[in-house]
């Protein structure tokens, strides 16, 4: 049983179900209640749950995340919306030095079951300060979980998992995904387990390891490749921390050639962690270098022609895979 709904609606279902299930779940963020969120991703929730559980806030990101941590320490499961992922920079101490560290440094006296929702990514000439994909920082920050849905199913299942998780969880949702439709299981208790990847497509010639918005681009690349007789595996990581190293190693063992792709900046990104893990642990399995694709090492430009030039799209992923298979590296 499944229905086809938008990514936005999938997140709404997740929140509705978790808020019905658990009265300690509440939401706060800028412009989420009266407006329903910039992408409509909170629409209808205050009507069902009241303006006390769906709170419009002042523009005070540091306070929102700080208060999220405080509420999480004292019996609630707050979901804090960051408006745009770029503004997580305004609450970085609260995420990194508080949320991520308290449980460990207090000797496990507490849990921090907070979810941060952060719409991210490149689209529509939003420009340098509204386009970043910052997950790499948080993979490098012990104490956090980081999940990144690629489609409506992930959107629902990962958001429910994030809310239920006793660890602080960052949920990065790409702005371009909100209107996209996809099938979602009909089960109220459907949850996508944190830390488990999903194979979107199976093929033995090459593996494309990716997550988030780039999963769709990788599937598109796989389709292009198929027409040429190249069969590609596409791994949707779903969670970027903790990484599903087993699924990655498995894909390497089956294909011996790997492209790692994401929209975040290539240098120092999650792709580097994945590629160097593969180099360390699957050295003898590799028939060719692991190729990493990611955004160029520049801020995201405004002009559409510039914006579209600087992050990996389907043709580029296909090209990398093709060259691996043809040993043209």
């Amino acid at each position: 049983m499944s229905r086809t709904i938008t990514f936005t609606e999938a997140t709404l279902e997740a929140m509705r179900e978790e808020m019905r299930r658990d009265p300690t779940v509440f939401l706060m963020g800028e412009d989420i209640a009266k407006q329903g969120g910039i992408f409509g991703q909170f629409r209808g929730l205050p009507q069902e749950f009241g303006f006390d559980r769906v709170r419009d806030t002042p523009i005070s990101e540091a306070a929102l995340v700080g208060a999220g941590v405080g509420a999480a320490l004292t019996g609630c499961r707050p979901v804090v919306d960051m408006h745009f992922a770029d503004f997580i920079t305004c609450a970085m101490d609260e995420v990194v030095n508080q949320a991520a560290k308290l449980r460990y440094m207090f000797g496990e006296q507490c849990i921090v079951p907070m979810t941060l929702r952060a719409p991210d990514g490149i689209t529509k000439s939003a420009g340098s300060q509204h386009s970043q994909a910052l997950e790499g920082w948080f993979v490098h920050t012990p104490g956090l979980e980081v999940v990144i849905p690629a489609d409506a199913e992930d959107a629902k299942g990962l958001l429910k998992a994030a809310i239920r998780s006793d660890n602080p969880t960052l949920y990065f949702e790409h702005k371009m995904l909100f209107p996209q439709k996809g099938p979602v299981p009909d089960d109220d208790d459907f949850v996508v387990p944190i830390g488990k990847a999903k194979t979107m497509r199976d093929g033995e010639d090459v593996a494309i390891v990716t997550y988030g918005i780039t999963v769709g681009r990788a599937i598109e690349a796989a389709t292009l490749l198929e027409a040429e007789g190249i069969r590609a595996t596409v791994i949707n990581l779903r969670t970027v921390w903790p990484l599903d190293y087993d699924a990655i190693a498995d894909a390497v063992a089956r294909t011996h050639r790997v492209v790692v792709a994401h929209e975040a900046v290539r240098v120092g990104g999650v792709g580097a962690e994945i590629a160097s893990f593969i180099g360390e642990h699957c050295f003898d399995e590799l028939d060719a270098p692991v190729l990493r694709l990611g955004a160029a090492h520049v801020p995201v430009p405004f002009a559409p022609v510039l914006q579209e030039a600087m992050y990996p799209r389907a043709a580029m992923i296909a090209d990398a895979a093709r060259r691996l298979v043809r040993r043209d590296v």
Partner: protein, 363 residues
């Protein structure tokens, strides 16, 4: 602590009044034009209009020198134009052209013009406070009498950098001026929902900073308050906080469904307070109907010229995307940043010019 200033037109002020009116009309024409071209699809990205708030930009910038600095916000067209940026450079930027003032890399939310001391719009609410504190500090370090002005909204006053920078400027007595455009809303929230106080100016007292509250629809009132503030700042008297009570007559951004207020409210405010109408009335006989009309005509011509300029300008070259983040990244011979070009190649390791126009669905 905060005192209310009122302004009156004196005979000798009519030239000033006309200059202020000209600036307000130019801003209005520019922004109505932006609205039209945005809706027509000529302008990508986001755009936030300051229609209704023109008196603040005009009144403030009229008091500033070219070598004084301003920092602006996401709602910055008025400030930019009033500080002296050409319409051509602005419109070309908004149209994402290579001839734009930021080469098409900034757009509406990140427009800047260092040639006139305009340190940039800012996509981050409250992003300007630090820049202004720094520009004011820089004036002290370099021993000039420049001042630095920060424009910001009511919503921005709830962010930490507001607090930290106002305190820093106060305790160091820096030549900074904080111009609050209190337009009653921060996107969908009214000030009543985000703060318990009526006048934000009361916060200045918490830094020991003098403040004024002015009618932000009255360009003269703004001009006078900024006059006091610049005099104080240039003479070593430190920063001033000026709260301008104003109103945003358009949506938060172009396309805003505006579920948070009644259309009626907008009409009421603009009927009573449109700063252009207000100034025309204040000027009375000092400006006849023909002269008033001419201001509009000139502004419309200026805008039409800017649009023509933008339209005839090329888009940036695609490879421009990869340059400009670092000083030195254009010179292959730069021993430090040459390495950047290696990264550029690596990003597309095998086919730097791959797939343009053939990248599939644009997922």
């Amino acid at each position: 602590m905060a005192k209310t200033l009122t302004a009156a037109v004196h005979g000798e002020r009519s030239d000033l009044g006309i200059a202020l009116l000209r600036t307000m009309i130019r801003i209005r024409v520019l922004e109505e034009g932006i609205e039209k071209h945005f809706l027509a699809g000529d302008i990508p990205g986001f755009a936030h209009l300051s229609i209704g708030q023109e008196a603040v930009a005009a009144g403030t910038c009229a008091k500033l020198r070219t070598d004084d600095a301003i920092a602006s916000t996401h709602r910055g067209h008025g400030h930019t134009l009033a500080k002296g940026t050409s319409m051509r450079g602005m419109v070309a930027e908004l149209f994402a052209r290579a001839t734009g003032i930021c080469k098409g890399k900034g757009g509406s939310m990140h427009i800047a013009d260092f040639s006139v001391g305009m340190l940039g719009a800012n996509g981050v609410v409250a992003g300007g406070f630090g820049l202004v504190a720094g520009a004011a500090l820089s004036a002290v370090q370099r021993k000039t009498d420049q001042v630095a002005v920060c424009f910001f909204g009511d919503g921005a006053t709830n962010r930490g950098p507001f607090h930290e920078n106002l305190n820093l400027c106060a305790v160091w007595n820096l030549p900074a001026i904080f111009v609050l455009e209190n337009n009653r809303y921060a996107s969908t929230t009214s000030t009543a929902e985000t703060m318990k106080i009526d006048d934000v100016a009361i916060r200045a007292a918490g830094y020991g900073m003098p403040s004024a509250i002015v009618d932000g629809f009255d360009a003269f009132a703004v001009y006078d308050a900024i006059g006091e503030a610049t005099a104080r700042a240039r003479s070593g008297g430190g920063p001033t906080f000026v709260e301008c009570k104003t109103y945003r007559a358009r949506g938060h951004y172009i396309g805003d469904p505006e579920r948070y207020r009644e259309k009626r409210e907008i009409e009421d405010v603009m009927t009573a307070s449109d700063p252009i109408v207000r100034m025309q009335a204040t000027l009375g006989d000092a400006l006849d109907a023909g002269e008033f009309e001419a201001l509009w005509t000139q502004a419309r011509e200026e805008f039409a010229d800017a649009v023509a300029f933008a339209r005839s300008s090329p888009s940036p070259e695609r490879d421009e995307a990869f340059f400009g983040a670092y000083v030195g990244d254009r010179s292959a011979g730069d021993p430090v940043h040459a390495v950047e070009s290696r990264e550029r190649d690596a990003f597309m390791p095998f086919a730097p010019n791959l797939g343009h126009g053939s990248q599939g669905s644009g997922h």
